[in-house]
């Protein structure tokens, strides 16, 4: 009984080979399978723990046996198949739950073997940048720069329209700008109208006509430089008055 206790799967077979019950060089699989199953029942009868490994060997042997009886070559393929569980004719008094319990144990061993590391894995799975890649980027950059240029020009024009931010350079540029000429004409028309009823006009009045202070001021500077008007201011930062140039 103690001897049986130690037996586990392949050890049973090895012991038979040692004792001469089985010829390891000429194994009669059908006979060995039957012997193995008998042993299995013996273990079961003695109420000993049936390990998953033992059950697994039994299943493999049964599969091989049934293949041989069917005239198939059992060694053609790895004898692992879903047929294990339902194909063998284990005695009725085998508790089904026991089988599952054992398969579970068996299988947890095989679960780890279910995955194999691939040997196709490689480090550094990137390539060098080609000149072609670089040139593609340059083209994109060109596009971005062109867009930025267009955007900057548009922004400049928008800024000039209100003249809220300007530098001396901007003003010089404006002198040649057709846009400022339009503003001057517009201002002159406004002034002509205002001068019909008034002789002196305050700068703020011009803004009421829709011009912003800065635009109006710049246009006034140009008009004054062309001697169409006089600008009068008593003190710095005080109100600015526009007087019609006489003569």
């Amino acid at each position: 009984m103690n001897e049986i206790d130690k037996l586990d799967g392949i050890e049973i077979l090895v012991n038979w080979a040692k004792s001469g019950e089985v010829d390891p060089w000429d194994v009669d699989i059908v006979k060995v399978t039957d012997m193995f199953l008998e042993k299995l029942f013996e273990i079961k009868q003695h109420n000993l723990r049936l390990t998953g490994r033992t059950l697994f060997f039994a299943a493999v042997l049964l599969k091989i046996k049934s293949d041989i009886l069917e005239g198939l070559d059992p060694f053609k393929e790895v004898p692992v198949s879903s047929d294990f569980i339902d194909e063998h004719d284990i005695d009725e008094d085998f508790d089904e739950d026991d089988i599952y319990e054992d398969i579970r144990n068996t299988n947890i061993v095989s679960l780890e073997n279910a995955l194999a590391r691939r040997t196709s894995t490689r480090k550094n799975r990137t390539r060098k940048v080609t000149l072609e890649d670089l040139i593609k980027q340059l083209r994109k950059l060109e596009e971005i720069e062109n867009k930025q240029k267009v955007k900057r020009t548009e922004e400049k024009i928008n800024t000039r329209r209100s003249y809220t931010h300007f530098t001396p350079d901007d003003i010089l540029e404006m002198a040649h700008d057709e846009y400022i000429e339009d503003e001057i004409i517009k201002l002159q028309n406004t002034l002509t109208k205002l001068f019909e009823s008034e002789e002196i006009i305050e700068l703020n009045e011009l803004t009421k006509s829709g011009m912003d202070r800065v635009s109006a001021y710049i246009a006034l500077l140009f008009l004054a430089s062309r001697s169409r008007i006089d600008l009068v201011q008593d003190e710095f930062y005080s109100d600015l008055y526009i007087i019609k140039e006489v003569g």
Binding site: D97, A114, L115, S120
Partner: protein, 163 residues
Amino acid sequence: MSLKARVEATLFTTGKALTIEEISEIVKAPNEDLEEALLELIMDYSSRDGALEIDDEDGYVIQVKEEYFDIVESLMPIEMSENALKTLSAIAIKQPVLQSDLVNIIGMGVYDHINYLLGKELISKKPKGKSFMIKTTTKFNEYFKLTGDTKTLAQILDIQSKN
């Protein structure tokens, strides 16, 4: 430029198992020609005494022969406990699989394994009902493959989760 060489360049560059259809899309050649080229390529590799071979078990891939696995392992080690590996196997076999089902199969330890495997980018999980749907990632496929009779394993796992 032979088709065989173009196929070789493709397999070398992608570094993962490709189907005939995928190769066909890259090298723009009909399947029949490809099959011939692949067969020739496999024979070329097997006739050499080199470290590389072409595996055609689950798609075509250039890989290092098993006998040089120690080199692959030393250059790209994956450290994993046996239990985490068990969980990863179960996921690979049953995917897409609910986290709650994995708990039934493996036990409570699964939560730790899942977090570990997520960190290694070998699996991904998405909320599904009150649990999470889990599957393996592209990185998993680069590093691992299922061996043996997956169908049997899946069936046995089914029995386990029913009990």
